[in-house]
């Protein structure tokens, strides 16, 4: 796959590779997502707005230039903005691929970091030379103002143009919570929400603090995604229950939605409204209990996003998906094309549906 290099959220030629529950592939224009889903389905999106989480500044003790990328926060409580986990790079900016970015100077507890109008102190190391917990010195309003005005969106070398906040906020961005955009939501606009409603497709949101997708450091990348706080409202829990009752599918827009819903559902008492800290990893061994289908960007094998798709379909189907994305020239990364993957019958509903898929396959073979 090739990288999408222009920060256009909804290019008119964006494509959607659809994988149905029998593993059959088809292609649609992504703008036809509403027409691809079925009446009765429920679409759940992550409405997190994205912080400008890249803060350039100076490691005060050495005078070295650094870039701090805010990466995590314990909760989404409004005034809980003093303490963040963060990945720290040495000099340079997004135009240098992260894997070639120098380490920051050795960071020790108590070190001051001058970040534009803000000052932060390292309060804890997190087991890697780049990963620390830091605390800003100011009150919440001043911290938010400082980040809002000094920060830039976290950005990678495949997009050269400096990003503005409007490039990374989805159309439905609400509470500032994410450190990188929940970019599957780039597919949505308000016209599409109206079309969902017109087709009897329900829509709900949750807020999940999507974290960094890459640091360029293999040891650190293996720890991604870090723990991510989320909030699920009673309205959304009720919408999921209603979709279940009418036999509709729960369609997660983005891996963060799948992670939050499956984490919440796995807690004692099952899915209920409230906040949580997602520390789960979704992969081939995961038994999905809430999410029936996922809209996601196209991800390269080896990433945690790609691994998550293995919870929906067997490895053989995922291999066919990867081959199709390559063969048809789908664009990858946050401004790229998308997939809609329905959980395979054989991974959810048992033998009856699996044999129905076999019948479908046999029919198709006969027709061909």
């Amino acid at each position: 796959m090739k990288a999408a290099t222009a920060p256009v959220q909804r290019p008119s030629d964006a494509r959607l590779l659809v994988v149905d529950a029998c593993g059959r592939l088809s292609q649609r224009p992504r703008s036809a997502l509403a027409e691809t889903l079925a009446p009765g389905d429920l679409v759940v999106a992550n409405d997190a707005a994205t912080w400008p989480a890249s803060l350039v500044g100076t490691h005060v003790a050495t005078g070295s230039a650094i870039e701090v990328r805010l990466a995590g926060r314990a909760s989404l409580v409004a005034d809980d903005v003093e303490t963040f986990s963060a990945v720290v790079f040495g000099a340079g900016d997004h135009r240098t691929p992260t894997e070639r970015r120098p380490l920051p100077p050795a960071l020790t507890v108590g070190d001051a970091l001058a970040l534009g109008p803000l000052t932060a102190h390292v309060i804890k190391g997190l087991g890697h030379p780049r990963l620390v917990e830091l605390r800003f010195d100011d009150d919440a309003d001043t911290i938010r103002a400082g980040i809002a005005r000094h920060g830039r969106p976290v950005q990678y070398a495949h997009v050269e143009t400096p990003l503005a906040l409007w490039d990374v906020w989805t159309r439905i961005a609400a509470l500032p919570a994410a450190f990188e955009p929940p970019s599957a939501g780039f597919a949505l606009d308000w016209r599409m929400l109206d079309r969902f409603a017109a087709r009897g497709i329900a829509f709900a949101t949750l807020t999940h603090a999507a974290g960094l997708s890459s640091t360029g450091d293999p040891a650190l990348d293996a720890r991604l995604p870090l723990d991510e706080p989320y909030v699920i409202s009673a309205t959304t829990v009720a919408a999921i229950a209603a979709a279940r009752r009418r036999g509709g599918r729960v369609v997660a827009v983005g891996t963060t939605v799948a992670r939050a819903l499956e984490h919440a559902a796995a807690r004692p008492g099952g899915l209920h409204a409230g906040s949580g800290l997602a520390d789960n990893r979704i992969g081939a061994a995961t038994r999905l209990t809430v999410v029936d289908a996922i809209v996601s960007g196209t991800h390269e094998p080896g990433t945690s996003h790609h691994a998550l798709l293995a919870a929906f379909v067997p490895a053989s189907t995922l291999a066919r998906v990867d081959a199709a994305l390559d063969a048809f020239g789908y664009r990858t990364h946050e401004y790229g094309d998308s997939v809609l993957i329905e959980r395979a019958h054989e991974r959810s509903r048992g033998d009856a549906e699996t044999s129905r898929c076999r019948a479908v396959a046999a029919e198709a073979a006969l027709a061909a």
Binding site: D47, A49, W51, P52, V77, A78, V81, A140, D141, R144, A145, I147, A148, R149, A164, L165, W166, W169, T170, R171, I172, A173, A174, L175, P176, W190, L193, D194, A197, A202, F203, A204, T205, T207, S233, A234, T235, A239
Partner: protein, 240 residues
């Protein structure tokens, strides 16, 4: 208390132009009844002063007319309030001062009036729409966006060209937003508070007798009553 009413849920309110005139009176009045208020204004010292004078309010320094500032403002509003039930677009500019005939109005002054009175509020509503809609989904009440307009938006007063034309566009913008956002539980209303004793009025009509003008405090009270009525009004068939 001798009778029990269900406790009113505190609103989350944002007001632009919150350090003087009607905006300041709204910040005071919302805060006085326990609502969470974030306000926006350009002058950092005045923002600090009002934030210090009104406990629990959140002062945000920014210029709504500046495209590059709008998302930073929206981020601070959402971050401070954790949601948004009411957005009051109160900040505005007269255009050229002293007021000028259209024939004497510099294009740049007219552009500035459009940026402050039309494009800025458009951008800010757009940046806050996710927050307004998600708050409305979680509430029985409607979200409310207020466009503070003027009789100059309706009546063509000579000498009020940049202001009147931009306010007319602003009012109509609100009416179209209202049609489009109704299914999402957000009402957009325009309100003419009348001639008030404010710095802006003094700039426009320096020799007006303040005693003949409405006090911003009274206009703020009326506006909040209207907002409460709009919040409680029945919603159209929900987008969900």
């Amino acid at each position: 208390m001798t009778h029990s009413e269900p406790a009113r849920t505190a609103l989350r309110v944002a007001v632009t132009g919150g350090t003087s005139g009607l905006g300041r009176a709204l910040v005071d009045a919302f805060a006085a009844r326990g609502d969470a208020v974030a306000f926006v204004a350009r002058d950092a010292a005045r923002v600090r002063a009002v934030a210090a004078a009104v406990p629990g309010s959140h002062g945000i320094v920014g210029d709504v007319a500046d495209k590059d500032s709008v998302h930073a403002i929206a981020l601070q509003i959402g971050g401070a309030l954790g949601g948004l039930d009411v957005l009051v677009h109160n900040a505005s500019t007269l255009g050229p001062v002293p007021l000028a005939l259209l024939a004497d109005t510099e294009c740049e002054d007219f552009e500035q009036a459009l940026a402050t009175n039309v494009l800025g509020p458009f951008r800010l509503t757009k940046a806050l729409l996710g927050l307004l809609a998600s708050s409305a989904r979680e509430s029985r009440d409607r979200g409310v966006v207020v466009h503070v307009t003027s009789d100059a938006a309706v009546t063509p007063y000579a000498g009020w060209g940049a202001y009147g034309a931009s306010k007319a566009a602003f009012a109509h913008l609100g009416r179209i937003w209202h049609e489009e956002l109704a299914p999402h539980g957000v009402a957009v209303i325009d309100v003419d508070p009348g001639d008030m004793d404010t710095p802006m009025h003094a700039a426009a009509i320096p020799d007006a007798d303040p005693a003949t003008l409405k006090r911003p405090r009274d206009a703020a009270r009326e506006l909040i009553e209207r907002i409460d009525r709009e919040r409680a009004a029945p919603r159209m068939a929900d987008a969900r």
